[in-house]
Symmetry: C2
C-alpha cells in the first residue's frame, strides 16, 4: 500500500477567513502566537480587531500545507529543552488497531520513535506548575488569552462571574497558578508537538469542542482530516476523534499530525473494536494496550468513564432513556456480565500513571449523564459525579491534568445546580459539558436547544462546551452541519464570556455594532463569526455591489431605516442638543430634562 | 381591477403536519377548540399526544380553503350575542391607504360594514372580565391552554416559576381573573371574528410572534398571505404585519380575512407612507385616521411607541447604536423637528378610547430598546420603560388590554433585571420581547443568539417572544427563514415552559424520549416541532425504509449503540436486579448498594 496520499484528491480548506488575515503576536524567546486580525474600513478610523484563532497554519497563506508531512512541530524544542523525556521504541502497530478491513494507509508523518517521561516521571504541565515552572506553553497561552484585554483596559468591568476570577491581564504566572490549583487544563501530549497551546478553565475564555470521526456507516481519511481543519477554521478549540469501525489507528495518525488543536478520544471505542464489538470480551489488558497506542500517537486527552461504578447501575433502572453514553453503556454491560466493579475504576491509578508520563489530560466521562429531560439531575447522574470528584483528587495527586464531563439534557432551572455541584465535588476542576439540551422536542434543531443550555452553563462557569450539530439524534453531521455546530457554540461561548464579564469580550460586539450603525456592511460581515454566511444572506436580497455601501438595507428600505434616522438625530444632537435644551427649559418646557433611570 | 385573485397561482400551504391530524376538543355550547393530535405506533401502547395548534383550518383537510372568501367567522355570533356592538358605515378606503403604485386588488372577503362598541363603549375582553363575565373567548382559551395538563395531573410539579402562578388546570374563571388583573391579554378585535382566541400572559403557555410584511424592496400578496399561513403552521401564535411601501391596506385585508391568529401592526409605518415617508409631515390627524382604518379592518393589536418622550431623546446621544426601533426613530425625529412632545403621548387617551371601542390590544412599543450589547439596560431604555408603566395604567383604566414590548440586545447577566423591572413598573402586564440577542457578533445566526435570551426571559416570566430569523440585520426572511425562526422560538418558548414548571409541558419531551429509547423513529419525527426536517436529516444518512424501524442509527452504528445496550441492561434489570443485588451483598460485595445522591 502506498503510504503517500495523493493530496490533490483531498480538499483541505486553506486560506484566510474572508476579510481577515493571520496575525502573529511576538512572545518571549522568538515565540509567535497565532491570532487573527480583522482590518476595518479606513472611514471608520478604527484599529483592526484582533480575535482568538484556533485555525492553525491553514489560514496562513505563507505556510505550505502538505498533510503527508504534517504540521510544523511548534513545541518540539520546548519539550526536549526540559530534559525530562526520552525517545524509545514504541509499541508496534498491530492489525487489530485498524480493524479487519483497513483501507487507509499509514500517515508518512508518523513519529516512529515516541517520547515519554524518563523513568516514568510525570512530564505534565501540572507537574511543572506545582514546581513553580512557567513553561513556554503557559507563556503562549497567556498571550493568546489576552485577546482584547489591552484594548479594553479603560472599560469598567461588567458582568456576573459567579465566583470566577477573571484577571485584568493574563500572565504566564496566572496560567501556571490556575493549572497548579487544578482549575485549568493545558492539554499537551508530548507526542503532539504540532499543537498550539490552549487552556481550559473557567478563568479563561470559554472553549468549545467539535466531535468528528468516521463510524461503521461512513468513512474516509480525507474527509476526517478536513473535518478537523474545517471545524478549527470556524473556532473549535479542541477536536475529539470519535471514530469507530476500521482504520481507527491510521485515521487518528493523519488527524494528529495535522492538527493545531488538542485531540481527544474515547479509548473505549477503539478497545471495543479490538474485541469485535463484544463488551464482554473487554479487559484491562486490551484497554491498557490501547492507551499506550494512543499515548504514543499524541492524543491530548482521553475520556475515561471510570466514575461509573457497579453500585450506580441500578439507579438507572427506572430512567426514561437509561444510559445514553456509549462508553458508559459498554462499561455497564461489562460490569453486569461479570458482576464485577468496572476495570476502569479498579485500574484508575495505572491510567493516571500513563497519562502523567505523556501529559495526557483526563476528561472524566459522565457515563450516566441524562439523555432526556426526564432523567436530568437524577440519583444516578449525581452519584457518578461524586465518584468523579473522588477520582479527580487521585489524578491531581499524580500530577495528571483532569477535567470533568457533564450533561446532556437538562431543563433550564436545573442547570445551575450542575455547575455548583461539579465545582464543589471536583475541586474546581474544569467542567466540560455536552450542551445541555434544554428540551427534547426539537430534533433537527438540537444545536439550538443545546446552545441555550451551553450559553447558560458557560456563564455559570463551565470551561468547555462540547458542540451539538443539527443532526444530533438523527444522523451523521456533514461539513455544513459541523460548521453550523461550531459557529453556534462559538456564539454561546462568547455570550457566556460577555455575561461573566470577561474584560475583552465586548470589544468585538461593539465593533460589530458600530459598523452596523455606520452602515459599514463589509466590516459587519468581516467581524461576524461567519463572514461568508452573513454576506450571502445580505446579498440574497440586495446583491448589487452598491448595496454594500448604501445607508439602508432590505429590511426596511431607505425611507424607514431607523439607523439612518438615528444617525441624523445624532448629528442634530451633536450640533447642540444642550443648547436647544436650555432654550426649551427657559421657555417653560422640560422636554429635555434628564431622567435618573436606574442603570 | 378584478377583485378576485386566481388562487391557483397562489401556493397556500394546507394539509396536516406530517404524522398528525387536526383534533377538536368539545367546549361549552357546541364550541370546538382546535388542537393537533399525534398518534404513536401501536407497539408503544401509548395514547396519542395532543399539542397546542396555532395553524387554524389550513391543516384540516375537511375545510375548504379559499382566500377570496376568507376563513369562517368563528366568533361572529359570540360578538353579536353580547348585544353591545353596532354595524356602521365604515371609513372609505382612500388612495393613500395603498400608496401611489398600488397593484394588489381588494380582498373580496372584506367586511364592508364594520362593527364598533355602541355609544363608544368598551367592548374589550378586559371590560367583560372586570364585570365578572366569562366570555366564550375565555372558555375557548381555557380549553386550549389545558394541553397536557390532564395527562400530567399525577406528576409532581417541577420548576422555578419566579412568582408566576401556573394553575393545575386552567378554567374560564382563571382566564377571566388574569385578564381582569391586567396580567393577561386576549387580543380579539371584534372586526376579526375569524380569529381563534388565544391568550398572552405569564401564567399561560409562553407564546411567540412572527413578523411578516412586504417592504419597499419586495412584495406580493400571495407571498404575504402564505407567510402568515406558513408561520402559524409551525406555531406562530400571533403574526405582525409590518408592511411598508405600497398596497398596505389591501395586503392587510387579505391577511386578516384569512388569519386564524391575532394580527398586530405598527400603525406608524402606514401613517408615514401616507405622508410620503417624511416624518416631519406626520400629525395626529393622519395617525388617528390610520388607526380607524386598521380598527375597522380587524387588526388585533397595535404597537404604539407612546412611551418615547422628548425628555428621553438626549439620553440616546452617546449610544453605540442610537435608536434602532423604526417607530421610535420616526417619532424621535418628529419630536426634534418641532421641539414638541410626541403626539402619541399627548393623544394616548384618545388612542385608548379607539382601542376599547374595537377591543384592540395595545402593545406599548419600546422605541428606545437597545440595538447593541453596549446599549443594554441604559438610562434611555429604562426611562422609557417607566413611561410605559405610566401608560399601562391609563390604558387599563380605560378597559384597554395592554402589554409591554421589551428588548432587543441584552447580555445574559442583564436579562433578569429587565423582566423584574417590567413587572414592577407595568403592573404585571404581559411582557413581549424581541429576543433578546445575547451577543452582537453572529449576524446570520441571530435566531440563535436571540433564542438564548428568549428562552431565559421566557423562563423569568416573559409572556410572548417575538421571533428573530437567520436574516436579522442582513436581509428579508424567505419562507425557509420564517420557518427556522418560528421553530427556533417554539423551542425557546417550550424550554421556558419546562423551566417554569408548566404542569403539562414535559409530556411531549417524555414522549419524544421514550420513542427515542425504544427506536420508534417515526414517533420521534412526528413528535418533534418539525417532523419534515427531522426525517430528512435522518434519511440523509440512512434513507432505507428499514432504517426507520432498526434498533440503531447512523451516529454509532449497531455495535456501539448506547440505547441498544441500555435496553438490554434494562431487560436484565427487570429480570431481577434486586435479586442479584441481594445475592452479591450476601457474598460480601456492596456493588448494588443504593446511593443517596441529592436529587
Amino acid at each position: 500500500m502506498d503510504a503517500k496520499i495523493d493530496t490533490s484528491s483531498i480538499n483541505i480548506t486553506t486560506g484566510p477567513i474572508q476579510g481577515s488575515h493571520k496575525h502573529y503576536v511576538d512572545g518571549p524567546n522568538g515565540m509567535k502566537v497565532a491570532m487573527r486580525q480583522i482590518p476595518l474600513e479606513p472611514s471608520s478610523g478604527e484599529e483592526p480587531v484582533v480575535v482568538y484563532d484556533a485555525s492553525g497554519p491553514y489560514t496562513d497563506p505563507n505556510t505550505e500545507i502538505d498533510i503527508n508531512k504534517g504540521l510544523e512541530k511548534l513545541r518540539y524544542n520546548w519539550i526536549i529543552a526540559r530534559g525530562d523525556v526520552e525517545e524509545y521504541d514504541g509499541r508496534q502497530v498491530k492489525p487489530e488497531d485498524n480493524g479487519k478491513k483497513a483501507t487507509v494507509p499509514e500517515c508518512p508523518a508518523v513519529n516512529y520513535r515516541p517520547l515519554r517521561g524518563k523513568d516514568g516521571d510525570a512530564v505534565s504541565q501540572l507537574a511543572y506548575a506545582k514546581r513553580g515552572i512557567i513553561t513556554p506553553e503557559m507563556e503562549y497561552v497567556a498571550i493568546r488569552e489576552n485577546e482584547g484585554r489591552l484594548a479594553a483596559s479603560d472599560k469598567p468591568r461588567d458582568g456576573e462571574d459567579f465566583g470566577a476570577e477573571l484577571p485584568d491581564l493574563v500572565t504566564g504566572e496566572f496560567v501556571r497558578s490556575e493549572i497548579e490549583r487544578g482549575r485549568a487544563v493545558l492539554p499537551a501530549n508530548i507526542n503532539h508537538p504540532e499543537c498550539e497551546p490552549m487552556i481550559i478553565g473557567r478563568n479563561f475564555l470559554t472553549k468549545i469542542n467539535a466531535n468528528i470521526g468516521n463510524s461503521a456507516v461512513t468513512s474516509s481519511v480525507g474527509e476526517e482530516v478536513d473535518k478537523m481543519v474545517w471545524s478549527t477554521r470556524w473556532g473549535a478549540d479542541t477536536v475529539m476523534d470519535l471514530s469507530t469501525g476500521n482504520d481507527i489507528h491510521n485515521i487518528r495518525e493523519w488527524i494528529i499530525r495535522n492538527s493545531p488543536v488538542p485531540i481527544g478520544t474515547v479509548p473505549m471505542y477503539q478497545a471495543l473494536e479490538k474485541v469485535d464489538g463484544i463488551a464482554e470480551d473487554l479487559n484491562w489488558d486490551v484497554f491498557r494496550d490501547t492507551l499506550v497506542e494512543q499515548a504514543e500517537q499524541g492524543v491530548d486527552y482521553w475520556t475515561i468513564h471510570a466514575g461509573l461504578r457497579m453500585a450506580h447501575i441500578p439507579l438507572t433502572a427506572n430512567r426514561t432513556t437509561g444510559i445514553v453514553s456509549r462508553g458508559g453503556s459498554i462499561i455497564a454491560k461489562w460490569c453486569l456480565t461479570y458482576h464485577k466493579e468496572s476495570f476502569l475504576y479498579e485500574h484508575f491509578e495505572e491510567i493516571c500513571d500513563l497519562a502523567a508520563e505523556y501529559d495526557i489530560g483526563l476528561s472524566l466521562g459522565d457515563g450516566l449523564r441524562p439523555g432526556s429531560i426526564a432523567d436530568a439531575n437524577d440519583a444516578a447522574q449525581f452519584a457518578e459525579l461524586e465518584t468523579l470528584g473522588e477520582l479527580q483528587k487521585v489524578a491531581y495527586a499524580k500530577d495528571v491534568q483532569v477535567f470533568i464531563e457533564g450533561p446532556g439534557h437538562v431543563p433550564m432551572h436545573k442547570i445551575k445546580i450542575n455547575m455548583e455541584k461539579q465545582l464543589e465535588e471536583c475541586g474546581e476542576a474544569p467542567f466540560y459539558t455536552l450542551g445541555p439540551l434544554t428540551t427534547d422536542i426539537a430534533p433537527g434543531y438540537d444545536h439550538i436547544t443545546s446552545a441555550v443550555g451551553a450559553a447558560m452553563i458557560g456563564w455559570y462557569g463551565c470551561a468547555m462546551l462540547c458542540y451539538v450539530t443539527p443532526k444530533e439524534h438523527l444522523g451523521l453531521p456533514n461539513r455544513d452541519d459541523v460548521k453550523v455546530g461550531v459557529v453556534t457554540y462559538k456564539l454561546a461561548a462568547h455570550a457566556a464570556d460577555l455575561a461573566k464579564g470577561h474584560p475583552g469580550a465586548q470589544i468585538r460586539d461593539d465593533a460589530v455594532s458600530r459598523a452596523r450603525f455606520e452602515f459599514r456592511w463589509r466590516d459587519q460581515f468581516h467581524l461576524s463569526l461567519d463572514p461568508d454566511t452573513a454576506m450571502e444572506y445580505h446579498d440574497e436580497t440586495l446583491p448589487a455591489e452598491g448595496a454594500k455601501t448604501s445607508h439602508f438595507c432590505s429590511m426596511c428600505g431607505p425611507k424607514f431605516c431607523s439607523m439612518k434616522i438615528s444617525q441624523e438625530l445624532k448629528d442634530v444632537a451633536q450640533e447642540g442638543m444642550n443648547e436647544m435644551s436650555e432654550k426649551f427649559v427657559e421657555a417653560g418646557g422640560e422636554i429635555y430634562q434628564k431622567t435618573d433611570a436606574a442603570e
